[in-house]
């Protein structure tokens, strides 16, 4: 006897997944196929026609020194935001999990940043970090000129990284807290009876047990730092000064919409898409096999 469940009616399953399929077709496959086509042509912005150029768009991107600059910058950006955001979220979650005083209040407070839209946060951060008028700018009164993201590319990039991490803490926090609360109390308590201090218990017991969550968040965070940085960068620095906060996704926007180079932008977005697909693939194939689930 066949053991898996199946539908007698062949049409019904298709009908049931139709809404989802339609959404994916309209909002993913259709635009993606359009971008793919543009990536191999030179598309006139006003739609007057296009010419097939084969791999030329990709070749000119790969020969562009500045493009590789944005790739390296994006990778650095992704690593920093992911590490910072996950570390902060894990620390907070561990403390909340220990049921200290006020835990219930903190549980909700820590999630709030996730509910703020990136552009709104960007505008607020912009005021806070403005070298002449902002809150952080006040340190220029003590050491003149020490903080100026308007002329210092490293500070500008650092500023965006901090803001992006802050926005991600809430999301990571929920997952970490849920994972930590799944661990049977008895394991921690047994460790405590054997004389393990909280830090030791976290490193040797809790962290290995929540490893699947850590890997899941790692991939999700990496992907989101490649694709979601646009809102912050556009409101805070617009890629400047001298291009030092220009990451891959911002360059796509700039070349496509401001520079009207639709084909170059399409080719770049195909590359970015492949990168994200690769990361997702790693998550499904490699990570799922090696990480131990209890």
């Amino acid at each position: 006897m066949e053991r898996r469940a199946y539908y007698r009616n062949k049409g019904l399953p298709w009908l049931l997944i139709a809404p989802q399929l339609l959404l994916v077709l309209v909002f993913f496959y259709w635009p993606t196929s359009q971008a793919l086509y543009w990536a191999f042509t030179l598309e006139q912005p006003w739609g007057g026609g296009n010419t097939w150029v084969g791999w030329d768009n990709f070749l000119s991107i790969f020969h562009d020194k500045e493009y590789w600059g944005t790739v390296v910058r994006s990778a650095f950006y992704a690593c920093c935001t992911t590490a910072l955001s996950m570390f902060m979220a894990l620390t907070l979650a561990v403390f909340v999990d220990r049921s200290l005083k006020g835990t219930r209040a903190f549980q909700s407070v820590y999630v709030w940043p996730y509910a703020i839209a990136a552009p709104a946060a960007g505008v607020a951060f912009r005021f806070m970090f403005a070298p002449e008028a902002g809150l952080i700018g006040a340190i220029n009164d003590i050491w003149p000129g020490i903080w100026n993201p308007a002329i210092n590319g490293y500070q500008a990039l650092g500023m965006i990284i901090v803001c992006h991490s802050w926005l991600g803490i809430g999301y990571n926090f929920i997952f970490f807290l849920a994972a930590l609360q799944m661990i049977p109390r008895s394991i921690s308590e047994a460790g405590a009876m054997d004389g393990a201090r909280p830090v030791r218990r976290m490193l040797d017991l809790q962290l290995p047990l929540i490893a699947p969550t850590v890997f899941f968040l790692l991939i999700i965070n990496l992907i989101s730092s490649f694709t979601d940085s646009f809102g912050l960068i556009d409101t805070m620095t617009e890629g400047g000064p001298f291009g030092s906060t220009e990451v891959m996704v911002y360059k796509i926007y700039f070349d496509g919409f401001k520079g009207l180079d639709y084909s170059g932008a399409a080719a770049q977005s195909i590359i970015l898409m492949l990168l994200v697909v690769a990361l997702t693939f790693v998550q499904f194939k490699w990570v799922e096999k090696r990480v131990h689930y209890n």
Binding site: L42, E43, Q44, P45, W46, G47, G48, T51, V53, S60, F127, A130, P131, E132, A133, G134, G137, N148, P149, A150, I151, N152, G153, T237, G240, P241, F242, G243, F254, D255, F257, K258, G259, L260, D261, S263, G264
Partner: protein, 447 residues
């Protein structure tokens, strides 16, 4: 019985509707998208209301798209989806993109076909040439036109003992140094985003080419030549002024832009559009004494005309003849002397025709306190007849090239990249953009 009555009633209503239709005919609606916001957007809305009130046949619907970039993007997206407005306002840097788009009706043709006779020679030649083909046919309607100027705090000038207004950059350097010594923190406010006034207009006033083939007027194969001209010297000077603390960064990123810092009395000199004259008047702190002048030149250089900035109105293809009639009526309305004067008064943009300017001058408009000085923008624009280098910029995707210049200036000032190297790299980047544009329009002929 009842059915008959209903039928009769329906017929009567129908007949009535038909009979009264011509009298009640709704005016033909057409769309106008523009890229200005805030106070200037309010003025455009006033203008649209006035046009709608002035006649009953057409109704213009004016929609702000916030800024020039967004308006261009949205117009393109709408055009590709066949939902374009009849009129769209496109900024100077987008001129060639429009010219090759095949998406517009030339303004001359539109006006002639709809029975309006406009004297195009009445338009200032420097303005007309920017929006004309190399053969001299005007393609779009000059609308909000400006040029770059320099603003001085006259109290600060008096304090350092300077009579009148500086006319050369070496005089500017001299007064800036004295201002610094006299205790002014910010002699000159500077924003690298203003590549238009600090770079493009510098090139025009000094009759320097930005690209070969007359800045691209004679062919899509133009090449950038900025690294070979006088701008090398000027950028070197800007860097020295910045390092000495005479040129102070005032931008959106620092928290206060140059114009605001000037109006607040914090910076004593800044360079910007004549269109900002009204804003400075409105924002100036009490007892701020200031004046506006033509851009300074290098020593021993004869001034040529500066470039027109701002935007023009393009009529897009694919609309009905009635809508084009409406658009033509709107352009005709804009060209009336009364309307031209009103627009120039409330905004600070310059009148675009000789007769408009002469009429305003005769009225004594430029003698009165809040508007005095604005005539210098016209003097700057008409200093000489346009030369090969000053009739305009006809380079593809010029908005990107302008953005590269902003990056280049930032790189030199904040990152200490040597000037010659930075400008050579700028030329190379610019050439890449131009070659790509040329390849995209490989069968197109420059009109």
């Amino acid at each position: 019985m009842t059915r008959n009555w209903l039928l009769n009633a329906a017929f009567t209503v129908g007949a009535l509707a038909l009979a009264t239709a011509p009298a009640l005919a709704a005016p033909t609606k057409f769309d106008f998208w523009y890229g200005l916001s805030g106070d200037l957007s309010e003025r455009i809305q006033d203008m649209c209301k006035d046009f709608n009130a002035s006649q009953a046949d057409y109704e213009i619907v004016c929609t702000s798209q916030n800024d020039y970039d967004t308006n261009l993007q949205n117009t393109i997206a709408a055009y590709r989806a066949n939902k374009q407005p009849t009129i769209s306002q496109i900024f100077d840097a987008g001129t060639l993109d429009l010219m090759l788009s095949q998406a517009y009706l030339p303004i001359g043709q539109l006006m002639t076909e709809n029975g309006y006779d406009i004297d195009w020679s009445n338009y200032f030649s420097g303005i007309a040439s920017y929006y004309s083909t190399s053969k001299g046919e005007l393609l779009s309607m000059p609308f909000n036109s400006s040029t770059a100027m320099i603003y001085y705090n006259t109290d600060a000038l008096t304090k350092v003992g300077f009579e009148g207004l500086p006319t050369t950059w070496s005089q500017v350097e001299d007064v800036a140094r004295k201002m610094k010594a006299a205790g002014y923190d910010c002699p000159i406010g500077f924003d690298p985003a203003g590549a238009w006034q600090w770079f493009e207009q510098f090139e025009a006033v000094h009759n320097q080419p930005i690209a070969t083939h007359g800045n691209g007027f004679d062919g899509l194969d133009a090449e950038m030549v900025v690294g070979k001209g006088k701008f090398v010297q000027q950028l070197t000077w800007l860097k020295a002024m910045y390092d000495e603390g005479l040129l102070v960064l005032k931008s959106k990123d620092t928290g206060e832009v140059d114009q605001d810092a000037f109006a607040a009395g914090k910076c004593q000199i800044f360079s910007g559009s004549i269109a900002g004259h009204g804003s400075v008047t409105a924002k100036a702190i009490p007892d701020l004494h200031w004046d506006v002048a033509m851009l300074p030149t290098l020593d021993g250089v004869t001034r040529t005309n500066s470039l027109v900035g701002g935007a023009s109105l393009w009529t897009l293809k694919g609309k009905t003849p009635e809508e084009y009639k409406g658009a033509a009526a709107f352009y005709n309305f804009l060209a009336t002397p009364k309307q031209a004067e009103w627009w120039s008064t409330v905004t600070g943009y310059i009148p675009v025709t000789n007769t408009g300017f002469e009429a305003m001058k005769a009225n004594g408009f430029y003698d009165k306190a809040p508007y005095a000085g604005r005539q210098r923008a016209i003097e700057s624009l008409t200093a000489t007849p346009p030369t090969e280098n000053t009739r305009g910029i006809r380079l593809g995707n010029y908005a990107s090239i302008r953005a590269e210049m902003v990056k280049t200036i930032q790189n030199v000032l904040f990152n200490n990249v040597p000037v010659q190297q930075a400008l050579d790299e700028f030329d190379a980047k610019g050439n890449d953009i131009l070659r790509r544009f040329q390849a995209t329009y490989k069968d197109a002929v420059l009109p």
